[in-house]
Each structure stands twice: as C-alpha cells, then as structure tokens.
Amino acid sequence: MRNLSSLKQEFLRKWIKGLRKYNSQKKNMNLLERKKAIKLSADLAMASTRNKATLWRKALVAKTSIDESNKNDISTSSQPKKIRKKLTNSSPLCRKRRRIRTVYKAKERVEASFIAKKMVQKRTRKLKSLLPGGKSMDEACLVDETLDYIESLRAQVEVMRCLVTASELFINPSPP
C-alpha cells in the first residue's frame, strides 16, 4: 500500500497548506463556513495530487474555485452566479426540450437484454452525476475516472479520519 500512503502524505501536506490559509479568518467563521472551508481545501488538495490530468480533477478545481469565490465574496456576486447558472441543466427550456424528446420514445420492449441495457444506462447516468465533471464523459472514460476518483476519495477519507481522531484525542485526552 505504499502507493496509497504516499498519496495520503501528499494529500495531507497540500491540505494543511490550504487550511492554514483559513487560519486567520477562523475566528470570524461560524461552523458551517468552517466546514465549507475545510471541505474546499480538502477537495483542492485531493484534486492536485498525483499530477494526473483526469477530468474529475479539473472539474473539481473549477467547482471549488467557484465555491471559494462565492464564499469569500472576492468577486462580485453576479459573476459566480452566472457561471453557476451555465453549469446547471435545469432551466425551463432544457426541461421542455427534454420532455419533447421523451414523447418520441420507441415502443417499449420487454426482452431481457433490453431491460438489462436500460438498467445499466440508468446507473451510468447516476454515476456520471456523482462524479465531478462526469456529465461530459463517455463510458470508457467514466470507468477510468471512477477508478481514480475512488482511490483519491479513500485516501482523503482516511486522512481526514485520522486528523479528526487525533484532534479529538487532543481535546479529550484519555484518563491516565
């Protein structure tokens, strides 16, 4: 598991760098803001590990930069909203288009292969929605990216867990 441990080290280092940035603002932030800051820095750190230019990393960086600018109110409030609006797919025009498309569905088939295909399609759609930047991936790309993403997520979760337990122990030391 040397691969994983090196990944974790790299992640931790980068995360700490990001976290220190928020140290100065810590007193002003409430719980939710702190949580967001932590999560953002963690996401950014995760996305910048390993030097791989996978799609999800790029999308994650883009998302966190938008979120960060939203949070800090660095940019004017209109700009990030515009970007966010472009990203979302739920405008009424889209919905209407989607509805029209479904009207011309082919007549339903009951064969097993067809049903299986539909099931797989549904799930790939769900997976695409889960992955950052997954909407613009084809199937082969999707599987690759999920592999990478799961590995990085695991490392992130483990590092965070250790940090949480360590800090909790620090606060609540065991009775000697």
Partner: protein, 339 residues
C-alpha cells in the same frame, strides 16, 4: 479432380504470395510454427491434400479438432475460397493427425503440430495471413453459422478468423463463432472489451463486488461506495470544523515540513467510531492551545507504544505514551506522528 488441382495451384500461388509479407511481422504464421517459410509452404502443400479430404468427405474421424471443421464444412462443396482452404489446412496441421497420405511431411507435421497445438490455439488471433482475407467475411459467416455443435470448443480455434483489418499495428480481438467480422462491430467489440476490463478492475477495488455478476448490480455497488465516501468526507469535514477552533493549525507547519513518515504505519481502516467532541469543553480548556508546544505537558498525556516501531519523526523523543488501551494508543500514535 481437375477443379481441385486447379484450385490447388491457385491456393499455392496465394500461399506463396502471402508467405512473402508474412515473415515480416513477428506474429506471422511461420513464426508460430518456428519454421522457415519454405518448409511451411511444403507443410501446407501436404496438408492441403489432407485438408481437402475432410472437406470433401464427412469422415467420422475421431480427430477432435478437424472434426469440427468436418462438421462445419462437410455439407459444402469445396470452397474456391483460398482462405478457407488455408484455414482448414492449418487446422489439420494443428491436429497433427493427418492420414498417412503424404509420406515425408508427416513427421514434420507431427513434431511441429504438438507444440503448435497449444500455441496455435492461443495465438491464432495474430495471424496476418488471414487478416488479409477479411473481405471474404460474408461467406465465412455463412459457413460459421452452420456449425452448431462444438462451437464452444472451436471458439479459440476460430479466433484466428478474426483479425482486425489490414491496419498495422494489429488490434487483437477475439471473435466468437457466428459473430460478424466487419470492422465496425470489431471496433465496437474491442471497445466493449476495454470497458469490461476496466470494470473488472473497479470490481476488485470496491469491496464486495467480486462475487456479483452483472454490470448493473456492480454499478449499483460502485455508486453506493462513491456516495458513502462522499458523505464521509462531508461528515468528517463537519467534525473537523467543530474541533477546529481549539486546535491551532499552526502546528501543522511542523507536519508539513516533516511529514515524511506520516503515513508509514498502517492506519487502521476500522477506526473506532469517533464521538462528537464535547463542545462545552472548549471554554473550559483554553490552555490547550499554548502548552501544545511544551514538552512537559505531553509527558503525562501520551504513552509510547512499542508496536509501531517504524516512526521516524524527530519528535518521537519529545513524547512518551502512557495509555494502555489499544485504540487510544493507536490514536495517540497517530497524533504523535502528526507532531
């Protein structure tokens, strides 16, 4: 028999024509047999005679491999398709049980057939000589469809039938009997196999997926796994946010600079469920922030654990551990590392 002799001449010419470019590629048929081309041509010559027999007559020979071809092509006239003849010839070479019609070549065949049997079964795919005959896929398709019995056995043997077109480098695709061999479906199949290979990797990565068969259920598990991991991240960041005002992350500068051996020990994946820190303690113990750096403060807190000897942080000497409990000691070890 005039027709057959004519066709044999035709066949020979085509074989010779094919043999010239064949030795260029490492995957050639001759390389398979590890023979010089001339010998192979002779082999094919001889086997061609023998190969014709099973095609013409539905012999009830007990040869396991050639019988497949017998069953497949016995009800047909001898195809003027040189590729098919060549294929049949090759099969008979592999079978190695040719009738003793051609005296001299039999020994060669038999010695070569056995090692080539295993080779041929596995490596037939890369035969470039057949790949040139892709245009005759339609006829072959018809022939193949007539074989029903022992289709599974012949799957690997018929693999050589595929080839992927005349392009170099060759994409090696396994074609099952009865499947189309035009380039579109082949490309699709290659793509699908690539995806399936990656899915297998995913299955191994996600715990609990190994025994499940079926893409949809596997995908279900993967989705659940990803969702649970994402939720974990959310929850943990929430917890950290709760803990955060106490711990000054300036200490992490030490971590950043000397965090080399941070993750060397095996982090327990089954960490004991962490309880929410009591936030009421925050007001009561503000002094934790300052004595963080002092050595004396640490002495009563932590006890050194001996079962993780691979710690190499220079701060090891600063700390001494007292806690006996396993989980707590593990956590304290982690903290020690982080210092």
């Amino acid at each position: 028999m005039e027709q057959s002799t004519l066709e044999s001449i035709q066949f020979n010419e085509e074989i010779l024509g094919i043999m010239a470019p064949a030795p260029e590629t490492a995957n050639s048929f001759t390389a398979l047999l590890e023979l010089p081309p001339t010998q192979v041509v002779e082999l094919l010559h001889s086997s061609e005679h023998t190969g014709k027999l099973p095609l013409h007559v539905s012999n009830p020979k007990p040869y396991p491999l050639t019988s497949v071809i017998c069953g497949g092509t016995s009800n047909l006239t001898f195809p003027s398709n040189a590729a098919l003849v060549e294929r049949a010839a090759r099969f008979s070479v592999f079978a190695g049980e040719n009738p003793p019609q051609t005296e001299v070549k039999d020994e060669q065949q038999e010695t070569d057939s056995n090692p080539s049997l295993t080779q041929g079964g596995g490596d037939c795919v890369s035969d470039p000589t057949v790949e040139n005959k892709n245009s005759k896929g339609a006829k072959r398709k018809q022939l193949e469809k007539k074989v029903k019995v022992s289709s599974k056995k012949s799957k690997s043997i018929a693999d050589e039938n595929s080839g992927n077109g005349e392009e170099l480098p060759y994409v090696h695709v396994r074609v099952r009997r009865g499947q189309a061999t035009d380039s579109h479906s082949l490309a699709e199949r290659a793509r699908r196999e690539k995806i399936n290979a990656r899915m297998k990797l995913l299955q191994e990565l996600v715990p609990g997926c190994n025994k499940i068969s079926g893409t949809a259920l596997v995908l279900d598990k993967i989705i659940n796994h990803v969702q649970s991991l994402q939720h974990e991240v959310e929850i943990l960041s929430m917890k950290l946010a709760a803990v955060n005002p106490i711990i000054d992350f300036n200490l992490d500068s030490i971590l950043a600079t000397e965090g080399v051996s941070l993750m060397d020990s095996n982090f327990p994946t089954t960490v004991t469920p962490v309880m929410w820190p009591e936030i009421s303690h925050n007001g009561n113990r503000p002094q934790f922030q300052q004595p963080w750096q002092s050595d004396g403060f640490h002495q009563p807190l932590w006890g050194r654990e001996e079962n993780n000897p691979n710690f190499m942080t220079p701060e090891n000497s600063l700390l001494s551990y007292d806690s006996p409990a396993n989980s707590v000691s593990l956590h304290s070890n982690q903290l020690k590392m982080e210092l």
